[in-house]
Amino acid sequence: MLSAFKSIPTHMDYKGQKLAEQIFQGVILVSAVIGFIYGFTIQQFGWTVYIMLAGFTISCLLTLPPWPVYRKNHLNWQPAMPETSGENRDKLQEIQKKKKHK
């Protein structure tokens, strides 16, 4: 069953990771400031913790799953070089000929 979880693709590209980090840091900091001010106003620290937990949940939903917005900047890999595969084939034929002689 674990292999089913592992096979779900969860990658993001590089710019997407940077965006995700900025988003969750921003959301948590904003909810911390709101929570601190609200808790101080009503003089109950419990509400500060609740608002922080709400901010944590929102940023979990926004950044943990790999939304398409995080996959916009694909890395352009170089195309495969065709000469390398030809060289390998030639070498292989040489080795096979040597074996036949022996």
Partner: protein
């Protein structure tokens, strides 16, 4: 940050650091507050007996009985950094053998959310008012004060004494064969 677990790790660690900073902020907003309030203590009955004391080095020690009233408004002490208050009533006096004696007669725990107006009448002491010897008889100056220990959410636990005390004097003779 390529996998879900790595992102979750990052997020969780950041949240914990921010939570720690918020707790420090909570502490710093109440660290220098003066937590003393005026307290009213009245004493309605004073009695003294000379009884067998099995906890001390001598045969008989003085045992005092005090019935008192306490009234105080604890509301100004409770802020967002106070979890509970531990109140205790102390009797302080000096005798010929000891310069300073302090005995706790009664205590109470007041949790956050409990009724903060303290208005107790005719309360008997919870703990025995034993003297180390026989120094309570005809002792003219015994001071009763109410103090409390503030238990915070984050920070130090200060010991505060309430302003307002009551001085009383014990009678000259012992009571005999009267139950409390």
């Amino acid at each position: 940050m390529n996998t879900v677990l790595s992102r979750a790790n990052s997020l969780f660690a950041f949240s914990l650091s921010v939570m720690a900073a918020l707790t420090f902020g909570c502490f710093i907003t109440t660290a220098f507050k003066d937590r003393s309030i005026p307290v009213d203590i009245h004493v309605s009955k004073i009695m003294i007996k000379n009884v067998d004391d099995f906890t001390g080095p001598r045969e008989r020690s003085d045992l005092g009985f005090v019935t008192f009233d306490i009234s105080a408004n604890l509301q100004p002490i409770f802020d967002w950094n106070v979890k509970e208050l531990f109140l205790y009533l102390t009797a302080e006096y000096s005798t010929k053998s000891n310069a300073l004696n302090q005995v706790v007669l009664w205590d109470k725990i007041v949790l956050r959310g409990d009724n903060t107006k303290l208005n107790l009448k005719d309360v008997k002491s919870k703990y025995f008012f034993f003297d180390d010897g026989n120094g309570l008889r005809a002792n003219k100056n015994i001071t009763l004060t109410l103090s409390w220990n503030v238990v915070p959410n984050a920070g130090i636990l200060p010991l505060v004494m309430g302003s307002g005390h009551k001085s009383l004097a014990f009678p000259e003779t012992y009571e005999t064969s009267k139950s409390y």
